[in-house]
């Protein structure tokens, strides 16, 4: 009983983290058609910057998290304006440059924060947990679930209720048409890339009290972001939300129940979806 309980709670919490990671990836990919392979690095960078702000500069946790998100968002903006901008439409060059940057970021982090892991203490007020129904609910995990829901709601409001959101949706649906009707796609791209990077960075520091921050975190997270987006469908917020929780459950229950398939459990559903429904569960068009 308690096994299933822990797994269920952790599935949702891990799904929440995956949503923070993948929502940006999905938007960037959906709107800009850029396979942003630095996304894992953004997550890791957010974890490092946030933990430094929190542990070394002693900022309050939430301020540190926002600081990390802002830093990574700026970093993303720089990459977009300086490099990706000139490569629109050229997937190969985008793959090359995003992987190149991820090499640089990984080595930079290793030099700056050493190879030792950074364990971020659970922020005060969110420590401990509650025992209910014979289960132990960790407060911080519940907080992550809530934060992910709030972020999802904000993103939904942004996309559905604002002018900017309408432009982004138009851009996702039909980039050429959006350009024709006078949407400044170029500025939109920068905003979306910053937003996506910032979300990943925010996810990194939010995840830090659970996952810790360590060299190689980027490589551990990137495939998960890809899997979620492929499963949910690129460019779809709902898709990455559902995909994240789905993968959260598949990861947790799959690892526990099918240890023999530990290496495959994440990829089998993805292959299945791709083969049966190439556009993903909620995608509009095949990538």
């Amino acid at each position: 009983m308690s096994l299933w309980g822990i797994l269920a709670i952790n599935s949702v919490a891990f799904g929440g983290l995956l949503f923070l990671l993948s929502a940006g990836f999905s938007l960037i990919f959906g709107l800009m058609r850029v396979p942003n392979l630095t996304h894992g690095s953004m997550f890791m960078l957010g974890g490092y910057v946030g933990s430094t702000l929190y542990l070394t500069w002693h900022l309050p946790f939430w301020l540190a998290a926002l600081g990390a998100a802002a830093t990574v968002a700026v970093f993303g903006g720089v990459i977009e304006r300086l490099l990706l901008r000139r490569l629109s439409g050229s997937i190969l060059a985008q793959v090359l440059v995003t992987l190149g940057i991820s090499f640089i970021v990984a080595d930079f982090c290793l030099l700056t924060w050493t190879g030792d892991p950074i364990s971020v203490a659970t922020p005060p007020g969110l420590t401990g947990g509650v025992r209910a129904f014979g289960l132990f609910f960790t407060t911080y995990r519940i907080a992550i679930i809530l934060v992910a829901c709030v972020v999802a709601a904000l993103l939904w409001a942004l996309l559905d209720k604002t002018r900017l959101g309408a432009m982004i949706r138009a851009g996702v649906d039909d980039p050429e048409m959006a350009r024709v009707v006078g949407i400044r796609v170029s500025r939109l791209f920068t905003i979306v890339f910053c937003l996506g990077a910032g979300l990943a960075g925010f996810g990194g520091i939010m995840g830090a009290p659970i996952l810790t921050v360590y060299p190689g975190l980027d490589g551990d997270m990137l495939p998960l972001a890809l899997v979620v987006v492929i499963l949910g469908g690129a460019g779809s917020l709902l898709g990455s939300l559902v995909g994240s929780f789905l993968i959260g459950f598949v990861y947790n229950f799959g690892q526990a129940m099918l240890p023999e398939l530990a290496y495959f459990v994440l990829f089998l559903p993805m292959v299945l979806v791709l083969v049966l429904r190439p556009q993903g569960l909620f995608g509009r068009h095949a990538p």
């Binding site: 096994l3 797994l7 659970i210 975190l217």
Partner: protein, 409 residues
């Protein structure tokens, strides 16, 4: 723009040229050349940095001269993968003509070059634990002053059963050979002492979250974890998060002294067995700690200590050989004949297969003055890789693996 481009091209050409045609170094007649295979990039880099610190600390303390012979150190970064290790070993052997190879770090790296060092008769002193290289498939040119992967875990199994009185333990580890050998060693001794391993859980490499594995801990009065690198910190955090309070035991990587500052308070109470301990009271260790503090402002751990002692072994062998390194087989013989009464990890000697026989310390993580530190609970003296088993019998049983020893129903 054009100028920039030309400059850039010229720059790359210059780099490429410099890289492609370096002059081969000519081996010094009198000097000794030591090659260090370590990892300085990627996820394993921290262990690699510490290895290098251990080596350079000893060499610097001796003014880059061992037993009267000037030492030149060549450091090579394997990148933490087998193919890179092979190439770097070739670089050290065929280009730099080193007299000894120290390292590599990981078992899979050492296995990739095992045949190569034999073919090239290269005396090698590895950190990597891969059991079989000093057991069932002994490497005639290998000397290991660190430990086999299971050496300290045998001790841990004994301590867990006899001193802690644990009866049923769940083992968690990474799904690779180092993990299998760690848990195999623990299980064999623990069960011979009357305990029982009720479940062994393997987390695939690259798993970001251990909670699904920790959630499966049931029906036990203790937990044994053998994670290495950054993973022990993550494990302890997530272990505490699910509200588990069972005692945790582990090996040399699980509670490494160098890693302690990175743990949260959830690590307090963890029992771990290690061939080195920060609180060993002898002059050699005091000096080692002081040097590490001075050179790197670092608390040493197992990696640095093992390599520091490894260089000391090389020095002793050089002294015995009077610097004559012309016969590699003799060099290996001299290395394995080294017996040191006092090192930073206590007295050591080698068995006939080239593996170290030395003290293993069972420690407990406590908080002292706001800092986590290991406090030795019990010292097991002169522990060999075969624990107390008969060597022939031990070698006749299968190597520790994912399924050996099996979990009994």
């Amino acid at each position: 723009m054009r100028v920039n481009r030309r400059k850039f091209l010229a720059g790359t050409a210059a780099i490429a040229g410099a890289a492609a045609f370096p002059m081969p170094s000519i081996a010094q007649a009198k000097g000794v050349k030591i090659g260090l295979l370590t990892v300085k990039t990627g996820p394993l880099a921290e262990g690699g940095f510490q290895m290098e610190q251990g080596v350079t600390t000893y060499l610097k303390s001796k003014n880059m001269s061992l037993a009267g012979h000037k030492v030149e150190l060549v450091v090579a970064d394997t990148g933490g993968n087998p193919a890179g290790t092979k190439t770097k070993a070739q670089e050290l052997v065929e280009r730099d003509h080193v007299n000894f190879i120290l390292g590599p770090l990981a078992a899979f790296e050492m296995l990739a070059i095992s045949d190569y060092v034999v073919q090239n008769k290269m005396p090698t002193l590895c950190l990597a634990g891969a059991d079989n290289l000093t057991q069932r498939q002994p490497n005639a040119f290998l000397t290991r002053a660190s430990a086999t992967s299971s050496q300290a875990m045998h001790v841990m199994g004994d301590y867990a059963a006899k001193v802690m009185g644990l009866k049923k333990v769940v083992c968690l580890d990474s799904d690779f050979a180092f993990g299998y050998e760690q848990q195999g060693g623990f299980q064999q001794v623990f069960e011979d002492d009357g305990g029982k391993v009720v479940k062994k859980i393997w987390a695939p490499l690259g798993a970001p979250d251990f909670t699904p594995f920790i959630a499966q801990i049931q029906g036990a009065d203790g937990v044994c974890q053998g994670y290495a690198g950054a993973a022990p910190v993550k494990f302890m955090k997530q272990y505490a998060d699910v509200g588990l309070k069972l005692p945790v035991v582990g090996g040399e990587t699980a509670g490494d002294d160098a890693l302690l500052p990175r743990f949260g308070d959830e690590a307090i109470g963890m029992i771990n067995a290690c061939p080195y301990t920060i609180d060993l009271k002898n002059d050699a260790n005091d000096k080692f700690k002081a040097l590490m503090q001075k050179e790197y402002q670092a608390v040493p751990g197992f990696y640095a200590a093992s390599m520091y002692v490894t260089v000391q072994v090389v020095e002793a062998a050089l002294r015995a050989l009077h610097g004559d390194l012309s016969k590699p087989a003799q060099t290996v013989k001299a290395l394995r004949a080294v017996s040191l009464k006092e090192t930073a990890r206590g007295p050591i000697r080698f068995d006939h297969l080239g593996n170290v026989v030395g003290d293993i310390f069972v420690r407990k993580i406590v908080k002292e003055g706001g800092k986590l530190t290991n406090v030795t609970q019990k010292t097991y003296h002169n522990v060999s890789q075969f624990w107390t088993y008969n060597e022939a019998k031990y070698l006749a049983q299968p190597a520790y693996s994912r399924d050996y020893p099996p979990v009994k129903a």
